[in-house]
Point group: C2
């Protein structure tokens, strides 16, 4: 179908006319639409119109909408990760994660996309970068994967809940407004359903999402630091899975069901 990096031909794609459609141009135009109008604004028709072409032509460069979104997210992630860098691993992780947070808050579609398709390139980039920093942090090899996984999944969880602008209309049928900043202060039937949330209601409405995100990162970094200090009784040799060192910190009880 379309020419990709993996074509077995030795034949290089010739340069056609200057306004030729390329995956790069399409993805760039897609990002422009996404940043301007959000995820709903990106349609193949709108994209084709912006590129002065037809919808069908796009399919010679992009397999489907999912690939288009993955590519767009990957490009955004690459830019974020390119900026953030430091000599100190912990500082790097803080800068990295803060950069991702900023990008997601600035462009909510990114958060939605990161959690829409599992293990897409953008997530792999993030995972790899965080894994490298975790390694530099001195975490023993057997725990590096778990440590990076915890950080990445936390970030993705935050990303998933952060496109608050839209989508919250559909969850409102049961609780119109809810913690919508100032409207309904979580009273009435919610008091019985959500005792904890009601108790910390003031923090709920007054808290800063960014500070809370940072706090979560610090919690996980603390936990990772403990991993590093508990290296003693873990075998150094081959890859030992099944029993992760962290499971020796707190004796786990059975919790299947």
């Amino acid at each position: 179908m379309c020419q990709d990096d993996l074509v077995s031909d030795v034949w290089q794609r010739p340069e056609r006319r200057s306004d030729a459609l390329t995956k790069a141009r399409i993805v760039e135009a897609a990002i422009t639409i996404l940043n301007a109008g959000g995820a709903d604004a990106l349609t193949f028709r709108a994209l084709a119109a912006d590129l002065s072409t037809g919808a069908g032509a796009l399919y010679h460069h992009v397999a489907n909408k999912g690939e288009l979104l993955s590519a767009a997210a990957a490009e955004m992630m690459a830019e974020v990760l390119a900026d953030a860098g430091s000599t100190d691993p912990a500082t790097s992780i803080r800068a990295l994660t803060a950069g991702v947070f900023d990008e997601i808050t600035a462009h909510p579609w990114l958060g939605s996309q990161l959690v829409a398709a599992p293990w897409q390139p953008a997530v792999l980039q993030l995972f790899d970068r965080i894994g490298s920093e975790v390694t530099a942090l001195g975490v023993p090899e057997a725990a590096q994967f778990d440590a990076a996984s915890a950080l990445v999944h936390y970030i993705l969880g935050v990303a998933s809940q952060y496109d608050a602008s839209q989508h919250l209309d559909q969850a409102d049928a049961d609780r119109p407004g809810f913690i919508a900043s100032s409207t309904s202060p979580l009273v009435g039937p919610d008091s019985e359903r959500y005792p904890f949330l009601v108790r910390i209601e003031q923090q709920l409405v007054e808290h800063d999402d960014r500070q809370q995100f940072y706090a979560g990162i610090e919690i996980i970094l603390t936990g990772i630091a403990a991993l590093r200090d508990t290296e003693r009784d873990s075998a150094v040799g081959g890859v030992q899975r099944q029993e992760h060192p962290c499971e020796q910190l707190h004796a786990r009880t059975d919790n299947r069901h």
Copy 2:
């Protein structure tokens, strides 16, 4: 439009014929479809067919598909949270989170739905329950919100990446297969793009998702335990935001950009 819990009338809805459409029946049927065929199988037409009615009739009880999915997820979450309970808070948290993980792996649509709409009822239930357990854990009040938030967001992040069965076809255009169990062992161009992932490749293919999920929970619990032990220099009085105690564990450097 439809009658809900919040009607101001004193008038109670009379019981019509026994096969009357109700939101409860609709949600139940939706869950059946979702569990059987996944998220794609749930259409208003299929749902209407199962209930021997028309699609239009459903809209008198459910505002839109988003509300339907939120309600279905909320019911699943309520069941999971009802089961898991213990006297020891840490044990409770482990049992709770493990239960949610099991439910998500058993019913992948749940994971997708939890991250599709932010702060939907199912997420609030989980947040509230975890918050209560965190409180019982002895975490100081000012840090309870952050601690619960970290756990919930981590779980949501895992949920987002766990419906691996589908959706990964669209991200495959660049890397056909990737870590798809055994097919493409992460070689070729990936070696340069993802140095960390390549290095831990063996763990990647051999690791147990469940064990890694547990490991993440333990990391966060360790970080939360540190929060509890660092209560000393935090004012006990009113709600102090802006500076979370955890931020005093590791001196944060500036990381805006």
